[in-house]
Symmetry: C2
Subunit: 657 residues, 2 copies
């Protein structure tokens, strides 16, 4: 039987299991990627595992989220990460050098390789035929130590592209169309593999816009073939040596097929406050816009910013509209500057920022209250911009630039007709991506050979083995689609405590209920209750670690987002699935008792647990977990489990017992 | 008798009083300047005065301090300021367009005119022969309403420049030399007037580096003649029409004379943590540097950044050193970008930021703990960078760039010798300052005609008339040189409450004693006690307004910084001078009672008040105040006083009584 691209790469890297959808597999990881807000914990865990050196082919540590360094804690984190990269043999990308996904694709991504990253948009280089998966930080620590990465074998879905994009339609509209059709839950447990005659009409950067934002579908990853477009891009970044062709077999079998005719796409926009609330731009035209931002890992590359620059060149943006451009990498900034585009954008009234994730996670350029912001980002979850009740729209750079010129949302085709001389900028790749690599420090040129910890960089908390009796209050009942931004916000005032779990925990779920953390600490045990898709969004493992630190023992939800569920196992919280009726019946404040022996049930493969509420009524909760996940859960989490394994195999005494 | 430049301009603008040093004069203000962290209150006060329109020749509102907009409150403030400028007829400079002093000198500064600004570095265009003074926001509100500005006639000191700067010595070294000789208190009550043959060897931008940082001497202002260099600069910024020549008369009399031989200056550096701790760079050479920042209103202009760019061109900065460049204006950024310098800096490893005050006030790029930062800024007060116990050095761009290349403090002459091919970049002005003005919105093109207040923008608190009996606890005893940064920190987490006095007050003096605000509120009345030079630094009137809001009734200090003392009058707090012996005797917690009738004494010109401590011993405190200041103090502050005047003259009922 023929293989999909996904199956080919997985076969090459398979260590445990079989490639049957739903079954757990263990795969070898070639490359890892960490950024600053998740990386500190990754390296603290790597330190706790007492390993000497990174074992993967390549590990890269980026500083991209907190580049404005609002607090010394941010700057201390960056210095710690530099020291960790130096100590353990990883590449280090300095703050201001760019967003991890952009710098990684420029410098390291390679077709056929596996990449595991502690950032949910890790699938970006899927556009180059790399199998790239986002995971919790602890999984990255273990992978860097040479351990396999365990994941449920996803279904592989064929997204067949036909036709060719017309003027003003872009790769962003392809992924917005996917979101429009499938919703933010449509990709759960799936890898989207793009095939068909439309594929070769898309350059590798366009493909990476699509694979990047495939994350918003809830997908495990997205991937394109590796072909002449891939080779072409790799030549332009000066790494043609890593090119290998990669295509699905003609008789590859897919779980499902979706067909998109590129020629039928028009400019689309995602409305507040979910990336799948997608409509044609014309449907929301006329909405006054006070802020436009071009950038992010989705649309922050040289070839993403260039169309926006061309559109504003020689014009002025609307006076009531602030337009900020934050390129995805300093290489992009440098090239745009060298070619005069930065000056042209500034002349038009653009506020040109350093290369940063920044505003995409609510760090900087928070919108004014009761105002509309149009952004080329990938997410517009409510409050993620840094203000509650925000009105953030997501679009292509073309649509964003048009909004900045008009001061309102406008279909760029209509604006072009109105202005008469506005041409569709199209896509233009540079001959060579020839920016400097001054900010990328190789392991050979490492600055530090020991860890430098500032006063805010704490220890990693460990959990004890899972107990037999679990009971406590339903401390918080939440709706559907609670994101990790709800669980642990990433705004600057909170982000700075990412390396200080005790302090960070005080903000747990504060956006849902600001009394939660205090109540949880006082209760010393208890449960969370949620609807569908609990824990969607960013991969941050703090969203499991902080509830664990507060004493939460388990989460009852109708369904879980993939990465977050893995994080719950990794930090020893029991993720239990309930049906809608049960969800409706449970009230916040209910006293919950799991009647079965939980520790034993988890170890012995029990899939159902009987739960008693207020000593009054009972329901059944399901535990869907692999043997390995059960072992981890029983041990009190992956760090305890991995450390125990390491200790028993080496015979060495634990370091701090 | 001949006149100094200062006297000539003051004579032209005199409304009340005589030009006798120490006497209060009232002068007409031609131009005002406000920025975002002080401007919101200025406009709220302007609104409270119920005036229709700005009465000065020109008013300009800038957004420069909080440009990263890390909270919606910042963005709301910017929108409010845009709406206020539009409503009342001021120019509005959008966030990202640059630092007020830089944008003002490029667009509006003019020799012979008076400028009043709610920022302590307002004297910058003194380098163009403008008499520019920093003041509290309320003074600006009144000036914008057409009222005179009252100030004690300063002594005018002649700073006679001889010779010419040698390679690697810069204008920054001139002002650092002044600080080395005179200290941060050396300019109190003085205007420094630069004369002598050395003057014509300095371009207007160099002169403005000197007048800008004259503020650190505690001076009321600093000023240069208006001559061919002035005309030359005005031609380059396209405003030769505002040129008028201005020289002191040959027989002008000065209170004092200081002579500096420019040819004897070498590269200097101010050590942590005061701008007057100046030594030759070579004395601290070898200190490892983790951060270098080029920018600020002192050294952020095109011709300031250019030397740093030339030095790093074709090289790479040290790998353990982060170098950030934040130009003073977008015009500078645009020109540097257009000429390729931005690309060259990025290639060398520079993190190129938007045009912002930013790091200079602890907003962004806070140094790592226990690390050294070299900056081209004007202040290095402890903690101002955003971290306590910081180690911030102040230098020229040349010295800063050399530190970035070497990774340690180094005399650039030594580095040049070591490298062999590093040449002194010297000073180079552009043919034309030809950046876009897209971000400067004129009153004619105003966006808004009514105020837009976000939910964080509150009302202005008013104080009642001064009472007869003042008594209470000495709530806090402080050392010498307490800055307004100590009184109300300007870090991002606090700055966002500048328009919300109730909330902002919670942070009052928290850097000295974090229990203070709670204790003050509980005490409902009481006093502050301080040593010499209380309230030095930034002009922020919140440093008086917040203690007023907390119920503080007076401050006993050995001496007061000029602007802060005016702010104390303006907000109805009694500033009383005590001698060193008394200062030593008072303890925090002492019960203090002013035995005289304070309200009556203030009104009747009493200069001495008898104060009883703990019902045990007595001392005499002096009130040094003009009649006008006494009226203001008695009325409960300038806003109450001005409003009462306005109400009585118009016969209109107060708006909200």
């Amino acid at each position: 039987m023929g293989q999909t691209i996904t199956e080919k790469i997985l076969s090459d890297h398979l260590i445990e299991g079989e490639l049957t959808p739903g079954e757990e597999i263990g795969i070898e990881i070639d490359q890892t990627l960490t950024q600053d807000t998740t990386g500190t914990l990754v390296w603290l865990q790597f330190e706790a595992l007492e390993l000497d050196e990174v074992q993967t082919e390549l590990a890269a540590q980026y500083c991209d989220h907190q580049t404005y360094q609002f607090d010394f804690k941010n700057t201390d984190d960056h210095r710690f990460l530099r020291s960790a990269a130096g100590t353990y043999g990883a590449h280090f990308s300095r703050p201001g050098n760019g967003i991890c996904h952009n710098v990684h694709r420029e410098n390291f991504a390679a077709p056929g390789k596996t990449l595991l990253g502690s950032d949910s948009h890790t699938p970006t280089p899927g556009g180059l035929g790399q199998l790239a998966i986002g995971a919790g930080g602890l999984d990255i620590s273990v992978a860097m130590g040479g351990g396999p990465y365990y994941v449920e074998m996803p279904e592989v879905v064929n997204v067949r592209l036909e036709g060719e994009l017309e003027a003003w339609a872009t790769a962003k509209d392809v992924i917005l169309e996917m979101l429009r059709r499938l919703s933010v839950k449509g990709g759960v447990g799936k890898i989207f593999e793009y095939t068909g005659p439309g594929v070769e009409t898309l350059t590798a950067p366009e493909r990476m816009t699509i694979t990047n934002m495939g994350t918003e579908l809830g997908a495990t990853s997205s991937i394109f073939p590796s072909d002449e477009q891939t080779r072409d891009y790799l030549e332009r970044v000066g790494r043609e040596d890593v090119y290998v062709p990669l295509q699905p077999d003609d008789d590859a079998e897919y779980a499902d097929e979706i067909v998109i005719d590129l020629s039928e796409l028009e400019p689309l926009i995602a409305c507040p406050s979910m990336p799948d609330k997608v409509v044609p731009v014309s449907e929301v035209a006329g909405e006054r816009v006070e802020q436009v931002i071009v950038g992010s890992c989705t649309n922050g590359a040289y070839e993403d910013v260039l169309p926006a620059a061309k559109l504003v060149e020689g014009r002025e943006i609307a006076k009531h509209t602030e337009m900020i451009v934050a390129p995805g990498s300093k290489q992009a900034s440098e090239m745009l500057a060298r070619q005069g585009w930065v000056a042209e954008m500034m002349a038009a009234g653009v506020n040109f920022s350093e290369a940063t994730c920044g505003a995409c996670i609510g760090i900087g350029h928070v919108p004014a209250s009761d105002s509309v912001s149009v952004r080329t980002f990938n997410r517009n979850f409510e409050g993620r911009s840094g203000i509650e009740d925000d009105n953030v729209y997501l679009s292509s750079p073309e649509v964003a630039a048009a909004a900045a010129l008009a001061g309102e949302i406008v279909d760029p085709r209509d604006l072009a007709e109105e202005l008469g001389d506005l041409e569709a900028p199209g896509l233009e790749l540079p001959e060579k991506y020839d920016g400097s690599k001054a900010d990328l420090i190789t392991p050979e040129n490492a600055i530090d050979d020991e860890l430098i910890k500032g006063p805010n960089i704490g220890d990693v908390p460990l959990k004890d083995e899972l107990e037999s009796d679990l009971g406590g209050e339903a401390l918080l009942k939440m709706d559907d689609n609670i994101t990790t931004d709800h669980i642990i916000p990433a705004t600057a005032d909170i982000l700075k405590f990412r390396s200080n779990i005790e302090k960070l925990s005080e903000f747990t779920l504060s956006r849902v209920d600001d009394t939660f953390a205090d109540r949880a600490k006082a209760a010393d045990g208890g449960f969370l209750v949620a609807g569908e898709n609990y824990g969607q969004g960013s991969s941050r493992e703090h969203a499991a670690l902080c509830p664990m630190y507060l004493g939460i023992e388990g989460v009852f939800a109708q369904s879980f987002a993939r990465i977050h569920k893995a994080n719950l196992f990794n930090f020893g919280l029991v993720p239990l699935t309930i049906d809608e009726e049960t969800y409706d019946q449970i009230d916040q404040g209910d006293e919950i008792e799991i009647l079965d022996d939980v520790g034993e049930g988890v170890r012995n493969g029990a899939e159902e647990f009987t739960v008693r509420v207020n000593d009054d009524w009972e329901f059944t909760a399901r535990l869907d977990a692999s043997d390995r996940e059960r072992d981890i859960l029983a041990a009190g989490g992956k760090l305890s489990w991995t450390k125990a394994q390491y200790d028993s195999s080496s015979g060495a005494a634990p370091a701090d017992d």
